[in-house]
């Protein structure tokens, strides 16, 4: 198992009187090589979940294990961080160096990797995210999507087994979002990296192997995306929406058209409409 959570609770202390459980008694297992989408509205506890995965936050109770290593074990923390690469939300606040390749090299340099290998890793990571030609550039003029792909390259150079995208698409425009998503899927497919993509856009979960919906610090749904979308009424109740095309099919069905079920993307919607019209 790549990731195991056992009865994990994480509480923030607001002040002496108030405690908020951002994650409540959560148990979860993620198999190596899966692409998991984790969706929830703001305040559902999904960001806390992300930070629990590489020991940036430690559980108040319960245990988080990454390939068998508990984040509570102080000696294993760097091993865990090596295994779990994490990309954050704001594309501007993750780069350390002013030049692309220097930034990508930062992780392996910290780990004391040999010079020649660092060079190889930097080249590999940058070509994986399609940014090799920018290796000598500064990131200031890049688009949000490019900056996030660089951030991904930065963690790839550490050679993680699990890649966590902590709302890394939230601040991007639609084009940037699809760029980042494409890279994540490629890494999952070609390199077998386990991806945990945390987002509030349901349509980004479409191609995931597994969709986990969080609400109020707990798991509300867990299954194949298409299965979860069937519960659209319940999803609405927790401030979430199904993809646009699914909603379109539902709306047409309500008027009286025979839309069948299970439409999740444009292709399927167009196909169905062609049959009907």
């Amino acid at each position: 198992m790549a990731v195991v959570l056992e009865n994990v609770t994480y509480s923030y202390n607001l002040d002496e009187m108030h405690r908020i459980d951002a994650v409540k008694n959560l148990s979860l297992r993620i198999k190596e090589g899966t692409f998991v989408a984790l969706v929830g509205h703001n305040g559902s506890g999904k960001s806390t979940f992300a930070k629990l995965l590489n020991g940036l936050l430690l559980p108040t109770s319960g245990e988080v294990k990454i390939f068998g290593n508990s984040t509570l074990d102080g000696n294993k923390i760097y091993e865990i961080r090596k295994d779990v690469g994490m990309v954050f939300q704001n594309p501007d606040n993750q780069m350390i160096a002013s030049i692309v390749e220097d930034d990508v090299a930062f992780g392996p340099e910290n780990l004391g990797v040999e010079r020649e290998e660092i060079k190889e890793r930097v080249e590999w990571a940058l070509s994986k995210v399609g940014m090799l030609e920018y290796r000598k550039h500064t990131p200031f003029k890049m688009s949000g999507g490019q900056k996030q792909r660089l951030a991904i390259a930065g963690v790839l150079a550490i050679k993680p087994k699990v890649l966590v995208l902590d709302e890394s698409t939230a601040m991007l425009d639609p084009q940037g979002r699809s760029e980042v998503l494409k890279v994540a899927h490629e890494l999952n497919r070609e390199d077998g990296i386990t991806v945990i993509h945390i987002t509030h856009f349901m349509e980004e979960a479409l191609d995931a192997d597994r969709l986990i919906v969080m609400n109020d610090g707990q798991i509300a749904f867990d299954g194949k995306p298409r299965e979860v979308f069937k519960h659209y009424e319940k999803l609405k109740e927790i401030k979430l929406a199904v993809p646009w095309e699914t909603q379109m099919a539902i709306s047409l069905k309500k008027v009286g058209l025979d839309m069948g079920s299970g439409i999740v993307n444009e292709e399927e919607l167009v196909e169905k409409l062609c049959q009907l019209l």
Partner: protein, 343 residues
Amino acid sequence: MPITIRHLSFTYSAGTPYEKKALENINLQINEGDFLGIIGHTGSGKSTFIQHINGLIKPQAGEIEIFDLKLTPEKRPKVNLKALRSSVGMVFQYPEYQLFADTVAKDVAFGPKNLGLPSEEVEKRVKQAIEMVGLDYEAVKDRAPFELSGGQKRRVAIAGIIAMQPKMLILDEPTAGLDPFGKEQILNLIKYLKTHCSPTIVVISHDIDEITRFANRIVVFNDSHIVYDEPMQQLFKHSRQLQKMGLDIPRAVKVVNSLRARGVDLGEDIVTAEDLIKAVVARYNEVHSTSLDENAGVFDMYDFSQKWLTTEERQMLEEESSSEEAPIDKSIKSSEVSEDSKK
């Protein structure tokens, strides 16, 4: 009175190696009552453009006529910027990052105070503005802005602008970074403001599906020029050109275009989800000789009828109910706003 922009050009850092053209010979008229959407890439010049309308950037060439004021490259006569800024309200990207005062009420009062209004008037406007953005005045006025949730902070920031009661409101990426539900709430708020606060509204957005929800006219910036300026229903005749520029087209248009490619032509001016539902049902009736109600379809991705509470808000309410005052649900207000504007 319309806003007229003639031959506006602007270059950043002219005469240095960093020189960059941002606007080139822009001509545009914004009419009273326009609900104008502006789209374009980052760096296409659209942000520079709206900063001109508010007098934040002085034109280098060309002129802008706004209400009774005229902005030109000349130093004199001096423009009354205060008057300009009270009539054109500007909501920047991530406006919650400009909140600074220790209470919500004080922050919202910053604009009206700067206009030199008497204190009773300021107070009246602050209350009005906070309520208009769907927050409960009594519940939030003395709270620190930093305690609020992301969506609420953004609404406080917008309240700070509309408390100046501008005749025209410009919003730059008003929904950026919010979750879909928060986006929806802001979109509903903008529609509400159009009828209740500022009759002319300009919105910049990356998300074309968002813009088509309310705009009646869309201007497309590309490479420091205006390339299209069309009524919303007409713009997507240029779908292919827009996509070539790397701009998105609405999902409904994508579906219509794919259907057309496969021999099902639903017509030209379908832009929104509602348009598509209507057209599909009409066609369905035609083909199958049924009489389904074309207007019965609703595209309700979100449910605003519920009381949405975050854990934090719930906690706050519990606290309040233990005191004398009756608990007030702040989010009820926002759902009222959204329903109002749906009508």
